[in-house]
């Protein structure tokens, strides 16, 4: 069963609510962010960092809710969520 749907009035071209930055030096590949992101924005990629840890990577940033949970649960302080102050504006532009 799929409970989530895109709201009818959400502009399909709307900008994401937030952008995610992953610090590749700090990440130790624990996978917490990818597992608990409610929108599956993040996943564990194939790239390794200089210490050999498998890095978290962005799968689909457009789905990001800007909830900030990845930033909070990352044990390495490796994730920064950058809020997009433009996101809601582009939403309003959508013709009703």
């Amino acid at each position: 069963m799929k409970l989530w749907r895109t709201p009818f009035d959400r502009n399909p071209d709307a900008e994401p609510l937030g952008y995610i930055h992953i610090d590749k030096i700090r990440c130790k590949g624990c996978g917490f962010c990818a597992e608990y992101c409610p929108r599956e924005v993040l996943h564990m990629g194939a790239e390794l960092n200089y210490k050999g840890y498998k890095l978290a990577a962005i799968k689909d940033e457009s789905k990001c809710l800007a909830c900030g949970y990845c930033e909070l649960i990352c044990p390495e302080f490796a994730i920064t969520l950058i809020l997009n102050s433009n996101a809601n504006k582009s939403e309003e532009k959508h013709p009703v």
Partner: protein
Amino acid sequence: MQIDDVTSYERSIAKYLRQDRLPHIWCAGCGIGPVLNCFLRAIDSAELNPDLVSVVSGIGCSGRVAGYVKLDSFHTTHGRAIPFATGLKLANPQLKTVVFSGDGDLVAIGGNHLIHAARRNIDMTVICINNFTYGMTGGQVGPTAPLDVRTATTPYGNFEPPFNLPWLLHASGASYIARWTVLHLHQLELTIVEALRRPGFSFIEVISPCPAIYGRMNKEPEGLDSLRNYIKRSVIKHGAGPRETAIDHKGPIVVGKFLDIDQPTLQDHLIGVAAKAKKPVKK
């Protein structure tokens, strides 16, 4: 694209974190990092004056927290975080003293200090990272390790019954007692804010994965294995009675805010006695 120039991370925690020390020493998947993150956010949300917050830790992986905060902090000898913080608080009652340490440090070698600080209701907040073991020294059995778990010193399973920390602290006289796991981060942050703001002895236990040492011996070799286990086992029950909060090997982990009562602190009693002491004694 027009983005906020200040991220929430920079707004709330970057100023309290010694970023030059990162990456930190904790293993991949260790739970101490998220708890530190929550704690720093809580200091920000509680709108405390950072100059008046001091963080004291003992020895252990959890004890390393004192070295990563850009606040007045002290890394004491093993088990002695609470007496050090007591001294700070008595010398300067304006301070917000926070003790951030592990189960081994606070409950084993420092156990006596813990119960007596709670009994005296000293105004301080204690955050205890409970990973059920002595992580830093190779995973010996600790006083919170549930029966039957495997550790470096109990290869056939732990045969010593553990402490039920909320019960211990309740019986000792604490004013505020809560427990969360590393997954309940929003609740944990709110709880720390509440504890920081309220007078009296507050104790917050955080169940936290130690994949490298404890997890490896108990079929949770990755931090994620422990987190998945917490999702299955944790039950939120605010106000749960102290008998309900025991943790065993496989059963439920009861989390929530268990106690929040107002009672005079050590400082209040001291002020009372000091007022009496000033009166001239009749002969």
